[in-house]
Symmetry: C2
Subunit: 616 residues, 2 copies
């Protein structure tokens, strides 16, 4: 079973991705070049990723005292990925890129996420380099970003610290100027960093010649104290090994030391580390004039104290990336359990009772409850994929649209990103649980892949902003910003879908249900903020996000159903029936859940917030 | 943090467990003797189980070619358990038992499930021996059951087969008479068995002198064919090593061979096996007269063809046991995440924004969303514990009540058992996911216990009857049997709680909500069966069970709240506030979910059932 038919339909029939090639940036492209990328990625994922997904789970990264050891398969997979050009898929030709739309890049990466999510750590390297392309100097782009795009170097994002976790305002990594001439380093203002960074994915390994850490740290004020809050944060390039201004390794190891590997529940193909910066394990001789300063050498990116702004620039794409990873883990489980259900004989149809026990067993896909579990997975995962691609398409619009459509896309992305990140993290995880359930006892064994998908997927509600943080971002910032313009824009798009759907007899009832759901989300948003107190509104930010997400997905499915009906004349009838079935499932089984979630939102329920600690 | 205060409240203040000592069977008992049992079990669980929960996860059972190797800790824990007398806690004094109420036995076992669910495999041995006490001959009780109660032997249940799974009517293990005098064996009619049994917990190990397998198999008819369906199933005692009529090992190994260990997602302290019966690995010389017959030696229990009836006799207690295991895994995660939330500083209260970033961080239990995740866990797990104890109390009523109350208890158990099994399996698993979420990234590492609880708990929706089977049992059998008497009895109990609660101002609104929910479940039950077609009703048996379960839990919480208010004069105010908070949470956040589930039930929604296979 291939992902391609679903992907093709969503990209070409639904999102009209081919029309992007009419834009000057993508003028060399066509459906043929897009498809060639998909062919390549599908093949590499099939040959270099999928067969080793269990290998990277059982052969966890370990430190031999000098190096972090990863399975050979990981080395091979990453080499093949880099060789495919995917690290710089969206970059300009002059940077060695393919100038592909982000929509196509995101879709192509879906193959790797589905085959082995934890081998595929290209996302961080690309994100790191992309950030430098926006905020770095020309030389930083040349020395660091370009070598990351080629796969010679890899990249990390070093935000969290052990004592701070999600609370970035409490970052205590210090960066002090490295000598009197520190401003004059060609690679950027040179600092020395000291501090500890936690949860750093791909923080240490031998997959590439060098690792380029992007590190959030604070430059002390004249009094030597760190500025409280997020305002004091600056961003630094801290290479594992020092390089000269041609990007060549100087032979000097920077003072970045592995303090420990995290041993995880899943996602074990990607090393996750605690890193010590500037603890003195690899002391770097003072290179500047004036009194010697110790610490890891780092080069400032952008202006001091604007580090978080630079980092946030990458946030939308990183969060869409997490949403896509969650989606494809769900999809992998859906395909595996569908395959199993089609082949496993067990039991007999309902109503026969013991009377027809002499008849042969049927395959379990013939049981209504198994079909329910499969259709739920389809509705969750294919719906989530549609949402992620829709958001990716908005990213392209933001980058290459007219000023007006670009601004609209930016605003829509602000509101949709928390959903694109959180919804698949929650519901495609539930899909993975259903995939286990379809397998019965076999699903609970490590002889089948579904238990690993479920373990891998559990990460996605945690990293890149927890579920709680996404909820507060949505209800506390995104639906309020610019006078609620994002919500209004989204409502306009939803209403446009409703207007089209209401004219199709079989969809009219869903159009009406979606209209009601949208109104309910709108009124609940107002009610949540009726007192103007963040505490009143945000105590139920997660239930709000759950209801918001289900409404968005109901809209996505209705819009996909419209496209499916429109395309039916030329498309496989079964695929269309499947999409309409999933739409029906979503409106019958899922959308009605929003009332329960919104109930506590609109009453500003403080049951949880008010319970005293000693009562737990 | 101890489980005791919660357990004490539920047992003594809510269920009046002490009053059981007024019954003649329990006349020697009192709250003091019950408490002494709890003290012992709490201590053994703390000393011999909890410290080794991670050990049994990482040192999975393995086969060295001759023996199954388990960690020493498992041997020690099981010895301590047997020495405590818990294996025969509920048995008659003359069998070496303590004649404890089942309610007390179940509560005492909760400590082990919470400390390390997968070490504690006493449940199968006790269940096995209990079955023999009901259906076995006097000598079978003496030779097999008694040695199981003492811990000298252990027991298994061998139902599933690789080709049949949940479909017991497709069992193909054959049992043929072992010679002409096979009826005359003192241990029971002697047969020879051939077949494969899958998913056999504790199927092979060196923890005890012998393993007593209870095996479902079919005796071929005169034509040599197996009778189709479940009617053809008989039950046999198949010891791993043969014994004489004094229970002494004869030195002859029976032909039961380990075919493979299952490598599981969790619950790794318990060996899970594929066993081959009578494949000839350990051939047993023919002992009877007439032509030699090969196969594993087995002794018939009860009458031929009544094996499933014998097995079902144990089903209610086994399913309550699974529900209790799921509950205590949830509770373990709740306690761990509560502890973590009370100690982990991170972030600042909502509304301060960046302005007060100079203030110290607060502990995460001060954040509303963390409190929401903790209160949800409390509502799920303490509510589930109350339900399990309520069901255990019904078991005691069934065994020691007046004919009328015993029959009522039996009927209520029929209806409540699918809920007692399924509800904690689903919602205490969700609690474990929330416990991970409270821990953030740390929860995803194996340095904290919560990821293991989540993995361990995933089994409970699968074994001892899957979620789907529980749903069909509830809607397809239990609410219909005896003219719907079980549902009527349950409704009467719920209404009695409503009548009391409606008089308490702070509970009246919940009493009304429960009344409506009960009506909704009732009308949905009728609507589901309006056409009389099983296919129409049972396509949504799982959503029905979810709604039914939430309604039952809402009732349990309201009843617990009543007891809590009644007890408040003498009890800790904080504990009472906690129970009222959990009740409030359940009515505000959880009970409203039932409408979405019942919607598809009452419309007999066939969206899933009707979708053709090729449309997936």
């Amino acid at each position: 079973m291939s992902l391609r038919p679903t992907l093709d339909f969503l990209l070409y029939d639904w999102l009209a991705a081919e029309s992007l090639s009419q834009r000057s940036r993508f003028a060399d492209h066509s459906r043929e070049t897009f498809d060639a990328v998909f062919d390549t990625c599908e093949r590499i994922a099939r040959e270099k990723y999928a067969p080793f997904n269990r290998t990277v789970d059982t052969q966890e990264p370990h430190f031999d005292g000098e190096k972090v050891i990863l399975p050979q398969a990981t080395h091979d997979a990453q080499k093949a990925y880099a060789a495919s050009g995917m690290l710089s898929a969206a970059q300009d030709y002059e940077m060695g890129g393919m100038q592909l739309p982000y929509t196509v890049e995101a879709a192509a990466n879906a193959f790797f996420a589905m085959a082995s999510v934890s081998i595929g750590s290209g996302m961080l390297t690309t994100g790191n380099a992309n950030l430098l392309m926006v905020h770095g100097t020309d030389l930083q782009k040349e020395v660091f970003a370009k070598n990351e795009f080629s796969g010679r170097f890899s990249g990390t994002m070093c935000l969290s610290e052990p004592q701070a976790g999600s609370s970035l305002s409490d970052v205590t990594t210090r960066a002090v100027p490295d000598g009197a001439d520190h401003e004059n380093d060609p690679l950027g203002p040179r600092y020395r960093l000291k501090g500890n960074k936690m949860w750093i994915s791909a923080g240490e390994h031998e997959l590439t010649d060098n690792i380029i850490h992007l590190v959030l740290a604070k430059i002390p004020g004249p009094d030597g104290k760190l500025i409280p809050g997020t305002r004091g944060i600056s961003l630094f390039i801290v290479p594992k090994k020092l390089v000269n201004d041609k990007g060549e390794l100087t032979g000097v190891r920077n003072d970045v030391a592995l303090a420990g590997l995290n041993h995880k529940l899943g996602w074990r193909g990607t090393t996750n580390t605690l890193l010590n910066f500037g603890e003195g394990k690899y002391p770097v001789p003072s290179t500047g004039s004036g009194p010697a300063v110790s610490g890891a050498v780092g080069y400032l990116v952008g202006k001091p104290h604007e580090g978080l702004r630079c980092m946030f620039h990458m946030m939308n794409e990183a969060r869409i990336g997490v949403g896509m990873a969650a989606t494809m883990l769900g999809m992998a489980g859906y395909h595996a359990s569908l395959e199993y259900a089609k082949n496993r004989p067990q039991g007999r149809p309902m109503g026969l009772g013991g009377k027809d026990a002499a008849q042969p067993q049927v395959r379990i896909i013939e049981h209504a409850d198994v079909k329910r579990m499969l259709l739920a997975q389809k509705a969750y995962c294919e719906g989530a994929l549609a949402l992620e691609l829709y958001c990716a398409r908005l990213v392209d619009e933001q980058h290459t649209g007219t000023p007006e459509t670009a601004d609209e896309a930016r605003m829509l992305l602000e509101v949709l990103t928390p959903i694109a990140k959180s919804w698949p993290s929650e519901w495609c995880l539930e899909a993975n649980s259903l995939a286990i359930q379809v397998h019965g006892g076999y699903g609970y064994t490590r002889d089948f892949p579904v238990e690993q998908y479920w373990r891998d997927n559990r990460l996605n509600m945690i990293h890149e902003g927890t579920h709680g943080i996404q909820g507060m971002d949505l209800l506390g910032r995104k639906v309020l910003m610019e006078g609620g313009r994002g919500l209004a824009l989204l409502a306009a798009r939803i209403n446009s879908t409703i207007e089209r759907a209401i004219q199709i007899p079989e969809l009219a009832v869903y159009a009406n249900a979606l209209g009601k759901a949208l109104q309910h989300v709108g009124s609940a948003t107002k009610a949540a903020w009726a007192t103007g107190k963040p505490g009143d509104a945000l105590a139920n930010a997660v239930p709000y996000m759950q209801a918001f997400g289900h409404t968005v997905l109901a809209w996505i499915w209705l819009d996909v159903a419209l496209a499916s009906i429109a395309a039916d004349a030329t498309k496989s009838i079964a695929a269309c029936a499947g999409r309409l079935g999933a739409t029906r499932y979503f409106y019958h089984y899922e959308l009605p859940k929003i009332d329960a979630w919104l109930k506590v939102v609109e009453t500003r329920d403080q049951t949880c917030a008010d319970l005293p600690e000693e009562a737990f």
